[in-house]
């Protein structure tokens, strides 16, 4: 439905209510759609102040802005009253530095992140690279705002940051590069053949998962860590891992006295109770917290069959 002159006037005012106005689903603290969230992430990264209009709270705005901009999707970004585009365009302009120019901010050069890649990961990547594509494709690593990782082959894009490691070129867009400094990309064994695993020191602390064979290796390697069994004495009497300390009153006291950076592994029967315990100690400020996936059951079946199953 075409807009009336009055509606058009309202949008003329709305898009100019601030230098930078984003029409989106949700607000800047709680974006309610992935595309809106991506644009919010980019705007925050540039550091410019911006206003948002939540189209979900007013159907007239939601339909009207599509008509006004001749653009059928949300989000929509306006700068100085001019429509710049949706998520795709904003992403591309940001990567190329054009968005920063439009916003009048200095496009600070991003230092190439220092990354490491273990031998098996490098081998897996080289095997996956069929080569011979035109334009040539390189390995790209995208790191999302919640530290979601996407590793894939794609063409080089404007503004890309290139890192050469273990004979491989890895491309990052600027935002991903900032989240990538110090990462370690590994190839680990999984039940379905293997997978990439990424350790990233920039990630906010969260419970990391540890498999039974990995725990065995830590013990064999005499790695420095603490292992806590969150089960009660009744279950511990049936089966336990020798190195595990009970998380009873004394155990908890010992734990709380540890350095907050200590590697701490929690273990239970199947890995559920230990996960909750691990999350609780994360809120106590511990930053290097692991959950033994599959609990003592996985330990019995994968590492030490002498430990009884129950």
């Amino acid at each position: 439905m075409p807009l009336t002159d009055q509606q058009r006037q309202q949008f003329d005012d709305l898009v100019k209510k601030s230098r930078v106005v984003l029409f989106m689903k949700g607000n800047k603290h709680f974006p309610q759609c992935g595309f809106s969230a991506q644009v919010i992430g980019i705007l925050k990264e540039t550091g410019v102040p911006f206003e948002t209009v939540n189209v979900l709270s007013d159907p007239a705005v939601r339909d009207g802005i599509k008509e006004y901009s001749s653009w059928p999707t949300i989000p929509q970004l306006y700068v100085d009253g001019e429509f710049l585009g949706g998520c795709d365009i904003v992403k591309e302009m940001h990567a190329a530095g054009d968005l920063q120019k439009k916003l009048g901010v200095v496009d600070k050069p991003v230092a190439p992140p220092k990354i490491t890649l273990d031998e098996r990961a490098a081998k897996a990547i080289k095997e996956a690279d069929e080569g011979g594509t035109s334009p040539p494709e390189h390995l790209r690593l995208e790191i999302g705002p919640q530290f979601q990782y996407e590793l894939y082959f794609g063409p080089k894009q404007a503004g890309d940051i290139e890192v050469v490691v273990s004979g491989l070129t890895v491309l990052f867009d600027k935002t991903s590069a900032k989240r990538a400094d110090g990462i370690n990309i590994m190839w680990v064994d999984t039940p379905d053949g293997g997978a990439f695993k990424i350790e990233n020191p920039n990630e906010p602390a969260r419970v990391k998962s540890l498999t039974a064979p990995e725990l065995k290796k830590w013990i064999d390697d005499k790695k420095s860590f603490e292992l806590f069994d969150v089960r009660g004495e009744d279950e511990r009497a049936v089966a336990k891992i020798d190195q595990a300390r009970a998380l009873d009153e004394a155990g908890e006291k010992h734990l709380l006295g540890l350095d907050k950076k200590t590697a701490i592994v929690f273990q239970c029967h199947h890995g559920m109770r230990s996960k909750s315990a691990a999350e609780r100690f994360l809120t106590e400020g511990f930053t290097n917290v692991f959950n033994l996936e599959g609990g003592i059951e996985a330990w019995s079946t994968k590492v030490d069959s002498k430990v009884p199953r129950y």
Partner: protein, 85 residues
């Protein structure tokens, strides 16, 4: 179009709608990250000299009627690429 169009049906409808607006274009439409999500690539000389905004607007304008309303068959375009060759 039926009330419950199939994915292949929607893809074809999108393709024809784009071709109607940009005759002779090389159009590919594929599934995106979930129901109602699609990825679109259009290759046509018509984009020559046009900005990315103008190019995308041309394509999106062709399928806008399929994206209108809450029960629209096309919920989102995950990625839209326009190229001249």
């Amino acid at each position: 179009m039926s009330d419950h169009p199939t994915i292949a049906g929607i893809e074809n409808t999108m393709k024809s709608a784009i071709l109607e607006k940009i005759p002779g274009a090389e159009v590919s439409v594929g599934p995106g990250s979930g129901g109602g999500h699609f990825v679109v690539q259009v290759v046509s000389a018509v984009f020559e000299g046009k900005s990315m905004l103008e190019s995308q607007r041309l394509v999106l304008g062709a399928i806008a009627h399929l994206m209108k309303g809450d029960s629209a068959p096309v919920h989102a375009i995950d990625s839209l690429k326009t190229r001249t060759s």
